[in-house]
């Protein structure tokens, strides 16, 4: 932690703040937050917000539900910074809490109305995701067609397969970590992912012809 220097005066009573950059680790930021530096949580949130929100949006298919769950996850840290036990990777904790909150959301939704557990039925549309970078018209049309095929293919995966696919993509956790997060044997996780890959190939090849 040599690159981190205290910004607060030791005798001031104010929380000692660290100089934060991309090399500051998640545990260091959390430690700074626990010691009273609120901005450390902002840096942490900035670091993980796109991945976490992207995962939630794919999972729930609802921008408002994803916003609520996103808030819920970080407010849990605000209320109880010790909720993250530091025994695991922070990202694994983050995605575990987010997944559990999403499951609670599905349960609430399904108790209110007959909604399938894998989604609210309200699909996240193009307005919820911003494409980057901006392609030309021909490329855009081609990308759109391919995108529609991929989206349709992902929709045809089972919820279990899709969940692992999204978790691996957005969290970048290893399959072993995902197996721990889902309390499943690693073989089960890899087998589901393998079936997902086979199905994606079949759908994309069939629809490409």
């Amino acid at each position: 932690m040599a690159e981190l220097r205290s910004r607060g005066r030791a005798d001031s009573g104010a929380p000692a703040r660290i100089l934060m950059n991309e090399e500051t680790t998640d545990p260091e930021l959390l430690s700074a937050f626990k010691n009273g530096d609120a901005e450390a949580l902002g840096v942490l949130m900035e670091r993980h917000k796109a991945a976490l929100y992207g995962y939630l949006l794919r999972l729930t298919r609802s921008a408002s539900a994803s916003d609520d769950i996103f808030q819920e996850v970080f407010l849990k840290l605000v209320r109880n910074p010790s909720a993250y036990g530091e025994r695991e990777k922070f990202k694994a904790w983050l995605f575990t809490v987010a997944r559990n909150a999403a499951m609670d959301h599905f349960r609430r939704e399904s108790s209110r109305a007959e909604v399938p557990l894998e989604g609210t039925g309200e699909k996240a549309g193009p307005a919820d995701f911003a494409a980057s970078p901006e392609p030309g018209p021909a490329e855009a049309a081609e990308n759109k067609a391919l995108g529609e095929r991929i989206a349709a293919a992902l929709d045809r995966l089972s919820p279990d397969q899709r969940e692992i696919f999204y978790l691996r993509h957005y969290s970048e956790l290893s399959f072993r970590e995902i197996a721990e997060l889902l309390s499943l044997p690693i073989g089960t996780v890899l087998a589901r992912m393998s079936r997902a890959a086979a199905l994606l190939r079949k759908i994309l090849e069939d629809e490409g012809q």
Binding site: K49, Q71, H169, Y170, G187, A197, A198, L200, L204
Partner: protein, 156 residues
């Protein structure tokens, strides 16, 4: 696919295969069109997801930051604030004890509030007395009427 490389291919595709497995999968890929197709499908789906970036609404992020600042402000109660609070509490305690001693124990007894309470209590007492008197008066008149009625019956 029944080439037996399904799960190995997944580890390879996501960069989790150790050197020996990686070499084995690469050798297998040269002769397995199905595995090449799966690898390509995973790549396309992953690239498509990566091409789109979504972020939480600014209000959701701001709400968390606001809560974090409020919570940490409460948490970062430094020793200077603690000393100042202690001093303030001591001064207030001193002022209270001094004023209590000079006013004496009958402070409340002699206050305006106490005399007003006495007045309310007296009014209630007066109302009760009047009601009791009216009730006794009514009882008396009722008995008198009964007597008159009995006497009239005797005379009949």
């Amino acid at each position: 696919m029944n080439c037996g490389y399904g799960e190995k291919l997944i580890l390879y595709a996501y960069g989790e295969a150790e050197a020996g497995l990686k070499a084995s999968v690469e050798a297998h890929l040269a002769g397995c069109a199905a595995c090449r197709g799966e690898l390509a499908a995973l790549g396309k789906a992953g690239a498509w997801l990566s091409a789109y970036r979504a972020e939480p609404s600014p209000s959701a992020v701001a709400a968390v930051l606001l809560a974090a600042r409020a919570a940490r402000r409460g948490f970062s109660f430094g020793w200077r604030e603690a000393v100042l609070s202690g001093a303030l509490a001591a001064v207030l305690a001193g002022v209270f004890s001094f004023s209590s001693r000079s006013a004496g124990a009958d402070l409340a007894w002699n206050s305006g509030l106490d005399s007003k309470l006495d007045s309310v209590e007296y009014s209630v007492y007066q109302a009760q007395s009047e009601m009791t008197a009216a009730s006794a008066d009514w009882d008396y008149r009722y008995s008198a009427l009964e007597d008159e009625s009995l006497n009239a019956g005797d005379n009949v």
